[in-house]
Symmetry: C2
Subunit: 428 residues, 2 copies
């Protein structure tokens, strides 16, 4: 006998709070870097909940954790038969995957990542509790090292899962003390035995806090994320000449610091002029020799450019390059740039986005279509299957901070939308 | 029998090079911080040369070293008779003082300071060697801790000598390891027994490398320094809000880094618009949290403003303050300022400046009247007696660096001007 599935508020909120206590230091700060003892403790707790819920737990070679329902290994057929491709989207046993990550930054909040994993688990338990029989398997996934704090690149587990990074390269990534991810995973017991990417979903949904102020500012409860900004990171190094601040006339200076200031102002003005579609940030800047009475000989800064449209992102990169050329001549400085990160924008699956939008409206929630400004595992999964994200408001837009907060009401609303969309996809 | 006094080139240049070898570390870098063992070694060498030259050496309570000629204590009459003032400028035994300092910055050049002291000694020896009888005593002075690297404030010994800082405060100044100047001087044997300021000169002359590019750029050999820029140092702290670089729309940011860039650009534009009379430098800038993808919550920078005219310097300070007020409102940031240093401009004695200018021309040297952009002991002596400075070119304007360089020709030209002016003042 089946009944209407519904989110168990106490179970979901209780688990979010419980997981948020794992990885606290003596001062109460929350840090769960990938492959750490804190990560192990959180993984053990999650796996315990999955097992208690009757899911089959599978761990792949880069430590990605999958809880599968109905029970029994999923998506293994292809990989266990040599020479045959993994199950393609739409194959009979291709599951609906709900996921995110449970690693955190240093001194983190409790919602970023963990919310999506625990809500995915809650959706599966809700369906199971309601006695329904989904038309497709369901999987909840926790991807390794999404934050990228201990190991580079970020979104590593989902990137490997999507085939964008070889397993051996991921396992060889070393932290600042020379410990590789492979060693760290073996040490905590999460170096799994099956091949990343084996589970090829028919659809991927990721529920996440917005990490920005747009929903709160607009008074909306649900974001149907239709795309994700492309990211361009560069390091810009400006070389001028150190000289005495008192004795060097203004017109004879080669001031690397003043040139850096003009780069910052250029980027700010460029982004403002784009009417909100391009964002630009200079988050780091160092002067050398960094003395009150010495004109800076060197300034090193970073430019973070983002846009949801790749042509516009390229235009911003080109405009910056042209500005730097002009600046070098005008300020008589030498400027070099180094590309640090470049991700193209991602467009999520239109059908899934429409389903999310419709689900929110069916639940009488105020929803808006929006762009993700941050990177997420969903952008990697979008390479191999239809994917989309659901956002809930972040108070004051704050994340990566103990002040990260989303109200219980909003957390439950997001989970209900995830349940609603999953039910539609599962034919419930 | 007297003859025309002349600079002994080998003696002067040899001493400059010899002193420049004292305080070298294993890598060859030159560092003689005030009160250090290297400072002691340099002082011992200097005192040896003074003694060999027949001067009477006196060391005061803050370690200032004076070599006096003709022999016999100078200027002690007043201080040894209780209740009577020290000898005033023009008193019969008030000496002509030639001086500078022999402490250095970290990884220094060999000319800054040492040149003026050794040229002063050379001038006295030249006069003595020529068998002349000066109408007034001559003193060569080496003032303690001019650079201010180990102890704050800089120009400390001359400031105490001029009555601008109590002896006990100077001796209580502590370095970064808690060692006071008094302890350091006692340790190296230069805690002298007589009261700073006892020797009240009738005139003070300081020969120094320019530490700027103006003489070299103009092709001149001698600077007759008619004034010294006032200095205003402020620390400016800008508090905004840390937020995610991707998810925070431009119009919702409170970007402390972008605001700091506008301060730098404002100061640069202001100084450029002054047609070269006001100079402005931002030499230090720090962002917090200093992460590529986080909008800076805090920017801390310093403003170094200089002008030879106090009204113009005050106008620059006021313009900056007004700009910061506007900026705080416009960029929605909080801005606080802290005054770090404020010295009024100094005007040197017009008669001495004219004598320097005339001496240079009499010696067929290309001379120009100019402003000192850096601080010097002469600005402290100017509080208590007629004072002026003679500059020689600094190659590429570089100082406080191993690359500091002045040609032998220019070094000797400067010493000859000092000898010429001193001879006039001494009635030789």
């Amino acid at each position: 006998m089946t009944r209407t599935p519904s989110i168990d508020a106490d179970r979901l909120l209780g688990r979010i709070r419980a997981l948020g206590q794992i990885g606290r230091d003596a001062s109460g700060a929350l840090t769960r870097l990938a492959g750490s003892e804190a990560d192990k403790a959180a993984r053990d707790t999650l796996v315990g909940w999955m097992t208690d819920a009757g899911l089959t737990v599978q761990v792949d070679a880069v430590g990605n954790v999958f809880g599968c329902w109905p029970t029994g290994p999923i998506g293994l057929r292809a990989s266990t038969v040599a020479g045959r491709p993994a199950a393609a989207p739409g194959a009979d046993d291709a599951p609906i995957m709900l996921g995110s990550h449970i690693d955190t930054v240093v001194n983190a909040g409790i919602y970023d990542g963990a919310y999506g994993v625990l809500a995915g688990l809650e959706v599966i338990e809700s369906l199971r509790d309601a006695g329904v029989s989904p038309a497709h398997p369901l999987v909840v996934a926790a991807f390794t090292n999404e934050e990228g704090v201990r190991y580079t690149p970020d979104m590593m587990g989902s990137l490997v899962h999507a085939g964008g990074l070889p397993v051996r390269e991921a396992l060889a990534a070393a932290d600042s003390e020379g410990v590789t991810l492979g060693e760290a995973l073996a040490r905590i017991g999460y170096a799994g035995s099956f091949m990343p990417g084996t589970i090829r979903p028919r659809a991927y949904l990721e529920l996440h806090i917005e990490q920005g102020p747009i929903l709160e500012h607009a008074g909306d409860q649900i974001g149907a994320v239709e795309n994700l900004q492309g990211i361009s990171w560069q390091r810009i190094t400006i070389a001028g000449e150190a000289n005495h601040a008192g004795t060097t006339p203004m017109h004879m200076r080669r001031d690397a610091g003043a040139a850096a200031a003009r780069v910052i102002t250029f980027l700010r003005d460029y982004a403002h002029a784009s009417q909100g579609v391009t964002v630009a940030t200079v988050g780091t800047l160092r002067f050398e020799p960094d003395a009150i009475n010495i004109i800076p000989a060197r300034a090193t800064l970073t430019a973070d450019l983002r846009d949801r449209d790749n042509a516009r992102l390229q235009a911003a990169e080109s405009a910056l390059a042209a500005f730097l050329d002009t600046l070098a001549a005008d300020a008589r400085v030498d400027i070099t740039t180094e590309r640090l990160v470049r991700f193209d924008p991602v467009t999520f699956d239109a059908t899934l986005v429409t389903l999310i939008d419709a689900a929110a409206r069916a639940l009488n929630l105020r929803a808006r279509r929006m762009t993700s400004g941050a990177g997420h595992d969903a952008q990697m999964l979008a390479r191999i299957c239809p994917a989309a994200m659901i956002f809930v408001p972040s108070q004051a837009g704050i994340s990566h901070s103990p002040r990260e907060h989303t109200s219980d009401t909003d957390l439950l609303a997001g989970a209900r939308v995830l349940l609603h969309v999953t039910s539609r996809l599962a034919g419930v």
